[in-house]
Structure formats: structure tokens, C-alpha cells
């Protein structure tokens, strides 16, 4: 008797969803962090719409990257400490699939809320209307990359007591293309040129990452539970 792949994936995702729903602050804190960063910028550089509008997309994306780092350590930490992670590697189902489940839940609870929060941030930073849809579109296709790469880093460092600073060192270089293409797309939309190419490029990168990352995460988990 053995759970089907689908059944196991569902159980893993359900467990993570239920756990996080009991600890709502884990979802809310990164979002509040983004909101705080977005509030700090006008105070630091002045409230003029020309400056703010120009840097809005960049600020929101940098805030998104930092908030992803903020919660990244906890992605596998509890599972590692209570033994869930080692049981996961012993499931008869392919580990990359289960790792994908964890990534998907992470995106649902950190990436998706960010997409929903984005219009509010854009409003606060006086992003011109023309850039709104591009911002939301890049967040929608870009945040899965964020979750996937974060999962790789978190799985690699989960067995280290304090991996926080190290994790930022590992992850930030890998986030760079995402940051460049995403803010580039918004900028293109602002100056009135086509933003679609960059959004499509990001979507392609996103697919590629989602295809490869589960294997990297699975390999990292196996190394970490050793």
C-alpha cells in the first residue's frame, strides 16, 4: 500500500498550509516588511513624484527580494528540526515532487500576497499608471523564481545553526537577473515602449527555474539530512 504521487503531494502541501495558517505572523511579517520599506523611501529621498515614480519599481522589487530573504530561513527549519524532512526523503514518492509542493505553498503564502499588495505599494510610491500592469505582471511571473531559488538556498543551509547571513550571500547573486528584467520591464512600460518581451522572458525563466529547482532542492535536502 502506497500513497499515489498526487496524494503525497497533496498531503505535503496541506500540512504546510495548515501549519502556516496557525502561525499567521509568518505570512504577515514579510508583507509588513515590504510595506515598511516602501514607506521609508519617500521619507529618505523626498516625496516628489518624479523621483519616486522613477525608482518605485526598483524599490518594490528590492523590498520583495529582501522580504523573501527574511522568511527564507524558516522554509525548512522546522521540518528539519522535528524530523519531517528526513521522513520526506524516505517517502517512496520522488523527492523533487514533494519539494515542489513545499515551494508551491511558499509561493502561495509569500509570492501571491505580494502580487496583491503591489498596487498599494505602487500607489504609495506614486508609480505612474502606465507602469502598474507591468509591475503586477512581473511580480506574478517573477515571484515563483523567488520562491524556487529561496528554497534551494534554504535547503542547502538548513542544517547550519545560523544560516541567515550566509543565505543572503548565496541567494542575492542569483536574484540579479530577476531584478534586472523585472525593473526593466516596468521602466519600459513607463517610457511607453513594449514591456511584453521582458515579461515573457521572465515567464520563460520562471518555467525553467520551476523545472530545475525541485531537483536542486531535493539534492540539497538529501545532503542536509545527512
Amino acid at each position: 500500500m502506497q500513497a499515489s504521487n498526487w496524494q503525497a503531494l497533496k498531503a505535503v502541501m496541506q500540512r504546510d498550509l495548515m501549519v502556516v495558517m496557525r502561525r499567521r505572523s509568518d505570512v504577515l511579517n514579510p508583507l509588513l516588511f515590504v510595506l515598511m520599506v516602501v514607506t521609508l523611501f519617500p521619507l529618505a529621498v523626498g516625496p516628489g513624484p518624479d523621483i519616486l515614480g522613477r525608482i518605485a519599481a526598483g524599490v518594490i522589487w528590492v523590498a520583495a527580494l529582501l522580504s523573501a530573504l527574511l522568511g527564507s530561513e524558516r522554509l525548512f527549519r522546522e521540518d528539519y528540526l522535528d524530523g519531517t524532512l528526513e521522513q520526506m526523503t524516505l517517502q517512496p514518492q520522488p523527492l523533487p515532487l514533494l519539494a515542489f509542493g513545499k515551494m508551491a505553498v511558499h509561493w502561495l503564502l509569500s509570492g501571491l500576497p505580494l502580487v496583491i499588495l503591489a498596487p498599494l505599494c505602487a500607489l504609495l510610491l506614486k508609480l505612474p499608471m502606465a507602469g502598474w500592469w507591468a509591475l503586477v505582471a512581473t511580480l506574478l511571473v517573477g515571484t515563483p523564481i523567488l520562491s524556487a531559488i529561496t528554497a534551494i538556498g534554504a535547503a542547502l543551509t538548513v542544517s547550519l545553526g545560523r544560516g541567515g547571513a550566509l543565505l543572503s550571500l548565496l541567494l542575492l547573486p542569483l536574484f540579479i537577473p530577476l531584478l534586472i528584467f523585472a525593473s526593466g520591464a516596468v521602466e519600459a512600460a513607463l517610457v511607453g515602449t513594449e514591456a511584453w518581451p521582458q515579461v515573457l522572458l521572465l515567464a520563460g525563466l520562471s518555467l525553467l527555474t520551476l523545472l530545475l529547482a525541485p531537483f536542486a532542492v531535493a539534492a540539497s535536502i538529501r545532503v542536509s539530512v545527512n
Binding site: L156, L166, L169, I176, P177, G184, A219, S220, V223, N226
Partner: protein, 257 residues
């Protein structure tokens, strides 16, 4: 292929093999480096635009080119270690990474020092400089991860996974940075885009490239030997090796006294 490779997968054999080659590679590196640098610094003509400042390329270009190749070597070693479970390949990772990191640093530093007289600024957000900087971060990440684990074996495996993730990302990073640079059109940097180089400058440059490649090989070999000793510290052959070295050193001291 396995049958042929097998004796070479033995740490002891590799250690002694590297020990036999190391002096020759070092000699070759020192010789070519002296020839290349003296030729480049003393005999090659000055550039008609940049004067003598261009002589920095004899260090800058070889290290920049090799920093990429070394990362590729790093990722290949990690891949071999993963797929064929060859622990020696995992160790090679620890030997290559510091050398690659120093080469990347040198290329960045010399680039900045060259940029000051040419562009009037120490740092320019040029595509090449930027991606080189990111490469440096990737190297630092691999090394930091390797040393973060108390168990060397686990560290090597984790760093290997990161190296492979990094190597997939490098083309993407390069492309994105170039695209970003063309989008923002900072200073137009023509220093790197030169007309075909005169032979009198090209030959010493090629010799320097060879010299730095040999130097990298020698450094990696030295570190690989250390790594083998570190991982096999409690094996009889390492103990015998050290015991022999120590008695030799003692005898030497007695002989002097």
C-alpha cells in the same frame, strides 16, 4: 573507462601523481610568467592611445578569462562528484574555488585601477565589470558554504550543488547585465573594444595567458594535495607520509646542530 580510471580514483595515487607534476608545472608557470611579464612590461611598445597604462592588461585579461574557466571547472568537478559519486571530484571543488576567487578579485582590481586613468573613475557600472563582480560573489558563496559545515564531506556536496546552480545562472546573469547596461547607456566604454591588437602586444599577452593558466594549475594542484591530506588524515598512508616527513625534518635539524 571505469577500469582505466579506477587506479586514479585512489587518493594516495593522485596525491603522489600531483606531487610529481607540481614542481614542473610550477617551474613552467614561473618561467612563462617571467618571460611574458618582462616582454609585456619592457619590450612591448606603448599603446598610441593609452600610453603605458595599457600594460595592466597583461595581468587583467588573463585573470579575467581564467576566472570564468575556473568557475566552469568548478561546476564540472561538482557535476562529476555528484553523478559518479567520485569524492575526489568533490575535493577538487575546494581546491579550485579559492584560486578562482583570487583570479576574479585580481581581474576586478586591475580593471578598476586601469579604469581610473582611462575613464576617470575607479568604478564604472560597465557590463563586464558588473558581471565580474557578481562572479566574485558566486565564488565567495561557494567557499563560504563549503566552510560553513563542520563535516567536510557534507560541505563539499552542498557547495557542489550551489556551484552547479551558479553555472546555470551565469549565462543568464551575463545576458541580463549586458541588456541592463545597454538599456541604461552609461559611459560608452571603448577601452575594451580595441582594433585588432598588434602582434608586438598580442604575443606577450598570449604568453601571459599561458603563464596564468599554468599558475592556476599549480595552485590548484597544491591545494588539491592539501585537501587530500585533510580528508584522509586518519588513513595509514597519510600517517606514514607525515611520519616520514617529520623524521626527515628531525634528522635535518640534528645534522645542522
Amino acid at each position: 573507462m571505469w577500469r582505466w580510471l579506477h587506479p586514479y580514483a585512489k587518493p594516495e595515487v593522485v596525491y603522489h601523481l600531483l606531487g610529481r607534476w607540481l614542481p614542473w608545472v610550477t617551474l613552467g608557470a614561473v618561467a612563462t610568467l617571467s618571460i611574458g611579464l618582462i616582454w609585456g612590461l619592457v619590450f612591448a611598445p606603448a599603446d598610441y592611445q593609452q600610453g603605458d597604462s595599457y600594460r595592466i592588461i597583461f595581468v587583467h585579461v588573463p585573470t579575467a578569462m581564467l576566472s570564468m574557466s575556473l568557475y566552469l571547472a568548478l561546476a564540472i568537478a561538482a557535476f562529476i562528484g555528484r553523478v559518479w559519486q567520485l569524492k575526489m571530484a568533490d575535493w577538487a571543488l575546494a581546491a579550485i574555488a579559492p584560486v578562482g576567487m583570487v583570479y576574479t578579485f585580481i581581474s576586478l582590481f586591475t580593471g578598476a585601477v586601469w579604469g581610473k586613468p582611462m575613464w576617470g573613475t575607479w568604478w564604472e557600472w560597465d557590463a563586464r565589470l558588473t558581471s565580474q563582480l557578481i562572479l566574485l560573489f558566486l565564488y565567495i558563496g561557494v567557499l563560504a558554504l563549503y566552510h560553513a559545515f563542520s563535516d567536510n564531506r557534507t560541505g563539499a556536496k552542498a557547495a557542489g550543488i550551489l556551484a552547479m546552480v551558479g553555472v546555470i545562472n551565469i549565462p543568464i546573469i551575463r545576458y541580463s547585465v549586458e541588456w541592463w547596461n545597454s538599456l541604461h547607456q552609461g559611459a560608452t566604454l571603448t577601452v575594451f573594444e580595441r582594433p585588432p591588437m598588434a602582434d608586438s602586444m598580442l604575443y606577450p599577452l598570449l604568453i601571459c595567458l599561458l603563464a596564468f593558466a599554468l599558475l592556476a594549475a599549480a595552485l590548484v594542484m597544491q591545494r588539491m594535495r592539501n585537501e587530500i591530506l585533510r580528508q584522509e588524515l586518519r588513513r595509514p598512508w597519510v600517517k606514514a607520509q607525515f611520519a616520514a616527513e617529520l623524521t626527515e625534518a628531525n634528522n635535518g635539524q640534528k645534522g645542522q646542530a
